[in-house]
């Protein structure tokens, strides 16, 4: 049967066709699908909140939420999405036909969209910045910790050199391009910081403005550069509340540098020792060297030999090395634990964050500890869309009931145990501390004239340190229009410091020979207020972008301090000024300062071609004589992103930049010491001088009397030896830098290169004048130096945008500089001086030359010249004006090498860094040789001669030559022999005691010099991201193994050179340094990246929404 469609079915068919056609038509015209997806960070698969997705060519867009997910409705014709997020490379994604998608964004290394914070807390795109700036995320410092948080920045920024001291509470020496006295700024507001009051758990980013060019807007405070700290704030907008927790525990054990000493010979001199009273009543039993008899069991009277009741004299006991390894048995493993919790929350109109942190350090020296507690609260509130309030307050308290003072002297454990203490007594026996029946009054020890029992010092000689440090600000900003914003801001930075010293009865120190104890107090209070008004202007007109800031600042500064000390105690153990044997001494100091400044800054972007910046600052400072108080100084900068207008093949990014700045300083001291001697030395003859951060008037230009206590505790006045100058002008620093930022292979390799040239001066300095005038110097303006240097930062990301899960981020930081004298000043006749002396102070010579005024003589082939006694001849006996150049104090270069690997959930990072070049004299070597404790004195030929010494035999023949014909040496002012032709040398044949030869040979710094280079395996962190269940409150949980200072490489290991950054010519003695290792645990309820706050008129907002082409 044939299939036949009747009319009805024909019509139905047509209807169906039309319907289908219609449906198809409508689908093709309005066909919408829903696309859902997730945007993640390619490096660690963390969701990105607030990423922007935009259909290419349209305004259809979406933003990701707190989970990084988004939903958008797309028509069939909308097939390409452009995904952008600040700090990441823009990505274009094909979405034709897709309903779900996962998008990974790569972090931009030198990308165009990267943003950085600059002076005054103003955020700028990195592309508009014309100076050298480098940043480190706070995250990098919170796993492997150091007691001082700034030390975490070591090796992370080219040009920033940090010398960490192993001593508890001593702050690291921080240098930027060779200059110390940096400005610390928190959220745009300068604070007074001793580097201990900064908690890295609260810090989002550290940004370093390297030099005057970057920090010019801060006026003279920014002269040497600034470290900008951006604190963490509440997350985004309406993202609920989140919690962060971080905890580290590290043990300090395993020495990196410790002096090696001999334990074979005891105290005494030339092999003779006998204890009677420990004060010289016996044979070499007071203030002794360690050149005594061998510890071979012979019978001698010692400090604890029993007393024969019949004769009242001590019965000799065996002289044996009871004290082998005294120091290592005395020191204990140290502990460092840090814990920090923070809670943050944000709503429609507000964002806030509170955090509490605590760090506890138990020192390697017994009975020493340091606690640091920190509380931080930030709050932001939008009254309206235009009016915003922001505030931050940080409270930090450092407290220690005892910390050690290792400076050279009887207060120092190294002095007592390594240099001037032998192995004849056992440190465990010294735990007794007091003599029997004389508890609290008389210590027990092997000697009673100069030295102290180490356990007595650790348990009874107590130093307390208590500091409350507060900084905070409140600011109100009003957006007058899209382009104009007015901000008023007031900030406070203040601290209260209280330090005590309880010196027990019978303890001895330089200048305190009566040994009757003492009590001292040191109180310092600083208060500083900064009030700013700023007007910001941002406008775009056809391709030209103009940003300008104008503002004014008033800074008021007030400081006062007291220092009081008893003059011996009446009753032992009562530490109060009312218990002073002689009248108590009290000193006071106060200072006030006001600085008024006005400043402006303009940034002009000329399309894609160029950025220009220009700043100017005027300030009036109260520390200088009237008439020289006000100065104006400018800075200029320019950059050009060449790759924006010129395609350069493999070079994916090239930015050229240059900047110039001039800053004028004025009679400010960055630190202050006790009220007794605020800018001078130590009021005591021993111990460390504690300097707290100050940045206030130094009163250097004062022609005044100084008063000190003289005979009978009555004040005596002395008139100054340095004349002031009523026409004194401000120091000047002019700096220019040139550099480029280069990206190769789609920014897989990034290089940042900067050349800087700093003219420092004319400085204010005390020009020496003939002392026959009655004065030794006059404060004048003079001495100008030129410092030239380089900074190179090299970063790579070889696995960028690759499918593999392995990520490798190596980084190298390199910096070097050299400073030479450029000019001095005009003399009385107006003639420019070519030199100030015949040694280092001549035009063209390096400023860091190390000259000594005494040393030895050498033959042309390098042999030392001895006198008839067989001991080296010294410079000063031949020509007292001779000086020798022993080397340079600055390093040739400073480097660091950081590596980060990550694969799936594991991350491994390690850092090597060091300083290469320069010389330093090794004081501990000098003292341990001359004192008889150095290990070399018992090894080899020296060991043989030493034993003979104790028998009274002179057997040591020193190296070098003698003058055969007994002619006298003549020398020029550089230690060069001028009458070589008259001299005949023969090998030295005179035998002496080893002790006498060593005492002479190692007396001068020349024979104690060592290479200043060193390298350290600074940090190792091995982390594992524990996978968290989706939907759990905590989004990130990490467990890490951490280690700091794990390996140390240097020419000699009796001292750790890390602390000796800058131009110190020699080492002091220091607590042996150790490695630190432990575990870190961190929990986060939010992802690691937080988006910036979008706001009206903020050009960041504009940038992310704009089509990227």
């Amino acid at each position: 049967m044939k299939f036949q469609l009747n009319v009805q079915s024909q019509w139905a068919l047509l209807k169906v066709c039309f319907l289908t056609f219609g449906v198809l038509l409508s689908m093709s015209a309005f066909a919408q699908r829903t696309l859902t997806g997730k945007v993640m960070d390619a490096a660690n698969s963390q969701p990105i909140i607030g990423a922007n997705l935009l259909v290419k060519g349209s305004s259809n867009g979406a933003v990701t939420d707190i989970d990084g997910t988004f939903t958008m409705k797309l028509s069939d014709s909308e097939t390409v999405l452009v995904v952008t997020y600040v700090g990441y490379d823009t990505k274009e994604v094909e979405v034709a036909g897709l309903t779900t998608i996962e998008i990974s964004l790569e972090e931009a290394a030198l990308g165009l969209s990267e943003v950085t914070v600059t002076a005054l807390g103003i955020t700028k795109e990195k592309v508009r910045v014309t100076t050298a700036i480098q940043s480190v995320d706070g995250e990098q410092l919170i796993k492997a910790r150091e007691p001082n948080n700034i030390q975490g920045l070591t090796g992370k920024i080219a040009g920033l050199t940090i010398g960490s001291s192993p001593e508890m509470l001593r702050r690291p020496n921080v240098l930027l391009r060779g200059a110390s006295d940096l400005l610390y700024v928190v959220d745009g507001v300068p604070i007074n910081s001793d580097t201990w009051n900064i908690n890295p758990d609260d810090i989002e980013t550290f940004t370093v403005l390297k030099g005057a060019t970057a920090a010019a807007l801060y006026g003279f405070r920014g002269k040497n550069g600034a470290i900008l700290i951006t604190t963490k704030r509440g997350v985004g907008k309406n993202l609920g509340f989140s919690v962060e927790f971080n905890s580290s525990t590290m043990v300090e054990a395993g020495f990196n540098a410790i002096p090696k000493v001999q334990d074979l010979y005891g105290p005494g001199d030339h092999g003779i020792y006998e204890f009677v009273d420990g004060r010289g009543g016996g044979k070499n039993d007071g203030d002794y060297d360690i050149w005594g008899p061998p510890l071979d069991g012979r019978l001698l009277t010692q400090y604890d030999s029993p007393i024969d009741p019949a004769t009242g004299k001590r019965i000799p006991t065996p002289f044996i090395p009871r004290g082998k390894d005294n120091l290592t048995r005395f020191l204990q493993p140290g502990l460092l634990t840090t814990n920090s919790v923070s809670v943050s929350s944000s709503g429609d109109r507000y964002d806030m964050r509170f955090s509490v942190g605590h760090s506890y350090q138990k020192g390697v020296v017994p009975n020493t500890s340091l606690n640091i507690s920190n509380f931080n609260a930030t709050l932001g509130f939008d009254f309206t869309d235009r009016l915003r309030f922001e505030s931050n307050i940080n409270f930090n308290r450092q407290f220690s009931d005892n910390y050690p003072d290792v400076n050279y002297g009887p207060n120092s454990l190294i002095y007592n145990m390594i240099i001037w203490g032998g192995a004849d007594w056992d440190v465990d026996d010294m735990k007794q501390i007091w003599q029997e029946g004389k508890e609290g009054v008389q210590q027990i020890y092997a000697e009673y004239q100069r030295y102290n029992n180490p356990w007595f010092v650790a348990k009874e000689w107590l130093r307390g340190h208590y500091k409350n440090d507060v900084f905070g600000y409140a600011s109100l900003s009003y957006e007058i229009s899209d382009a104009l914003k007015l901000t008023g801001r007031s900030s406070v930075t203040t601290y209260d410091l209280f330090r005590t010293e309880k010196m027990p009865y019978s303890a001895g120190a330089y200048g305190r020979d009566e040994r009757k104890g003492d009590y001292r107090e040191d109180r310092r209070t600083l208060f500083e207020n900064n009030t700013d008004i700023l007007l910001q202007y941002d406008k775009r007109f056809n391709g030209i972008n103009l940003s300008a800031v104008a503002g004014g600042n008033v800074r008021t500064f007030a400081f006062n301090s007291n220092y009081g000390s008893t003059d011996y105690l009446i009753t032992p153990g009562v530490y109060s000024f009312s218990n002073s044997l002689n009248p108590a001494r009290v000193f006071s100091f106060e200072s006030n300062m006001t600085v008024l400044s006005g400043y402006y800054s303009t940034d002009i972007t000329l399309g894609r071609y160029m950025n220009l910046s220009y700043t100017g600052c005027v300030d009036k400072i109260s520390t200088l004589p009237e008439g020289n108080q006000t100065f104006y100084y400018p800075s200029f900068g320019a950059n050009s992103i060449v790759t924006e207008y010129l395609p350069l093949g493999p070079v994916s990014f090239l930015k050229l930049r240059g900047a110039y700045a001039n800053v004028k300083d004025g009679l400010i001291s960055s630190t202050v010491a006790t009220a007794a001697a605020p800018f001078g030395g130590n009021p005591l003859e021993y111990g460390d001088t504690y300097r707290s951060s100050y940045d206030g008037p130094s009163y250097g230009n004062a022609t005044v009397y100084s008063t000190s206590l003289a005979y009978g505790n009555v004040p005596a006045s002395y008139f100054t030896n340095t004349l002031g100058n009523p026409d004194l002008e401000r120091n000047s620093r002019s700096e220019y830098e040139l550099g480029f930022d280069l990206g190769l292979l789609t920014n897989r390799v990034n290089v940042e290169f900067t050349y800087f040239n700093i003219k420092e001066g004319p400085r204010t300095f005390a020009r020496p004048i003939s002392e026959t005038t009655g004065y030794t110097g006059q404060l004048v303006n003079g001495i100008t130096t030129r410092k030239k240097g380089l900074e190179i930062v090299l970063k790579a990301d070889p696995f960028k945008a690759s499918a593999s899960k392995l990520k490798w981020l190596p980084m190298i930081n390199f910096s070097t500089f050299r400073e030479t004298y450029e000019s001095f000043y005009k003399d009385a006749e107006g003639k420019e001086l070519e030199k100030l002396d015949d040694y280092s102070q001549q035009i063209g010579r390096r400023v860091d030359e190390y000259w000594v005024s005494n040393g030895y003589f050498f033959t042309p082939d390098g042999q030392i010249i001895n006198d008839n006694g067989g001991r080296p001849i010294r410079l000063s006996t031949v020509n007292g004006n001779a000086r020798k150049l022993l080397g340079y104090l600055d390093p040739d270069f400073v480097w660091s090498f950081i590596n980060r690997f990550s694969y799936k959930n594991f991350t491994v990072s390690f850092q090597f860094d060091g300083r290469q070049g320069g010389v330093i004299y090794n004081y501990i070597q000098r003292q341990t040789f001359r004192g008889g404790r150095h290990i070399s004195t018992v090894e080899g030929a020296m060991g043989v001669a030493r034993l003979e010494d104790t028998k009274g035999n002179r057997t040591w023949v020193g190296s070098g030559v003698q003058i055969a014909n007994s002619a006298a040496l003549k020398s020029d002012i550089y230690g060069n022999i001028t009458n070589l032709s008259e001299l005949q040398f023969t090998p030295n044949t005179t035998a002496t005691f080893l002790q006498d030869w060593i005492s002479r040979y190692y007396q001068e710094n020349e024979t104690n010099m060592m290479d200043r280079s060193f390298a350290k395996l600074r940090e190792v962190v091995i982390s594992y991201n524990v996978p968290v269940k989706p939907g759990s409150f905590f989004r990130e949980m990490t467990i890490s193994l951490i280690g700091r200072n794990l390996l140390y490489f240097a020419e000699k290991k009796d001292i750790d050179l890390d602390a000796y950054v800058g131009r110190s010519a020699g080492t002091d003695i220091e607590t042996p340094t150790s490695k630190r290792y432990g575990v870190n645990f961190s929990l986060n309820s939010k992802p690691c990246k937080q988006p910036p706050r979008p706001s009206r008129g903020d050009h960041l907002h504009v940038l992310t929404l704009k089509n990227s082409s």
Binding site: D289, I533, L535, A548, A550, G551, G552, V554, S588, F589, E590, S591, N592, M593, T594, L596, G598, Y600, V618, I621, S622, T623, P625, E626, Q629, P678, P697, Y699, A702, V704, Y705, T707, A710, Y711, G712, V714, P715, A716, S717, Y718, F719, N721, L723, I769, S770, E771, T772, T773, G774, Y775, Q778, S853, S876, T877, N879, G880, N881, R930, S999, R1000
Partner: protein
């Protein structure tokens, strides 16, 4: 330009609001004084006479030796010596402050000042010989003062000591005069006078080899001086108190009576061939 106007307006606001702090006032150091009472400077000047010693033995002896090279050697050295001009400046200031405080031209501080000058110049010239004298201590007015010969210095020193004696005598005669701040003799000028004269004799004896020189007239000066009241230099109390090392003849025992002084001198002189024996 717009920006400059902003800046001016802002600065104007600030100068208006914060005018209360006068910057000029804040420049001076509030902790240290530009003037000081002469008594405090005297304390310091007396302290500066002290030559440090380790113990009594070292204090009593003119020469000593070190045989422990950690602390020093017995070798000759060359180079510059330490001088006392800054201490002399303090002496000058002491005299100025005394006058400023209302004292008469001849006052205890000016008299003692002469002694201090003499003492310091003798110490310095014994080390290095010729030194600036008249043109020295003028501060910035003369930064290259002319040198005087050692002879000129000694002549001036003797003159100072002589004038000091005369001044002290007149102050003692006036009565009620005291040098405040004197912890050495408690302000007692008679004791100072005796000290000054003893010191003058000491200086003259040290010049005994220059007896032939007509300008100095050593012998005549000694003889004249012995007519002045001199306290016995070896008075036990004095010796213990004295920080002025060297004022005391080593090996000489002089007694309090004038005759005994002469005898003592005589004994002393006989041991030294060039020393003047008697008047």
């Amino acid at each position: 330009m717009k920006l400059h106007k902003f800046l001016i307006v802002l600065l104007a606001i600030f100068s208006f609001t914060f005018h209360s702090c006068d910057l000029a006032e804040l420049e001076a150091d509030p902790n240290r004084a530009t003037n000081s009472p002469a008594s405090l400077i005297l304390n310091g000047a007396l302290n500066n006479l002290y030559t440090e010693c380790w113990n009594e033995t070292m204090r009593r002896n003119q020469y000593f030796c070190i045989n422990y090279n950690y602390y020093g050697t017995n070798e000759y050295w060359s180079g510059s010596a330490s001088l006392d001009y800054t201490r002399l400046k303090n002496v000058q200031k002491m005299e100025e402050e005394a006058i400023r405080g209302g004292a008469a031209v001849v006052n205890p501080y000016s008299a003692l000042g002469k002694f201090f000058r003499a003492y310091h110049f003798v110490n310095m010239t014994q080390k290095v010989g010729d030194l600036p004298l008249g043109e020295a201590l003028s501060g910035l007015e003369n930064t290259t003062p002319k040198y005087a010969t050692q002879k000129e210095i000694y002549i001036q020193v003797l003159k100072w000591l002589d004038e000091a004696n005369t001044d002290l005598a007149s102050l003692i005669a006036k009565g009620g005069q005291k040098a405040d701040g004197d912890w050495f003799y408690g302000g007692d000028l008679t004791k100072w006078q005796k000290l000054v004269n003893a010191y003058r004799l000491r200086v003259l004896v040290s010049l005994s080899k220059k007896d032939a020189d007509a300008d100095v007239k050593v012998k005549a000066a000694i003889c004249r001086d012995l007519g002045q009241p001199i306290q016995v230099p070896f008075d036990e109390q004095y010796r213990r108190q004295s920080p002025v090392s060297g004022v005391g003849w080593p090996g000489c025992q002089l007694l309090s009576e004038k005759t005994q002084v002469l005898t003592g001198f005589d004994a002393f002189a006989r041991t030294r061939p060039n020393c003047i024996s008697t008047c």
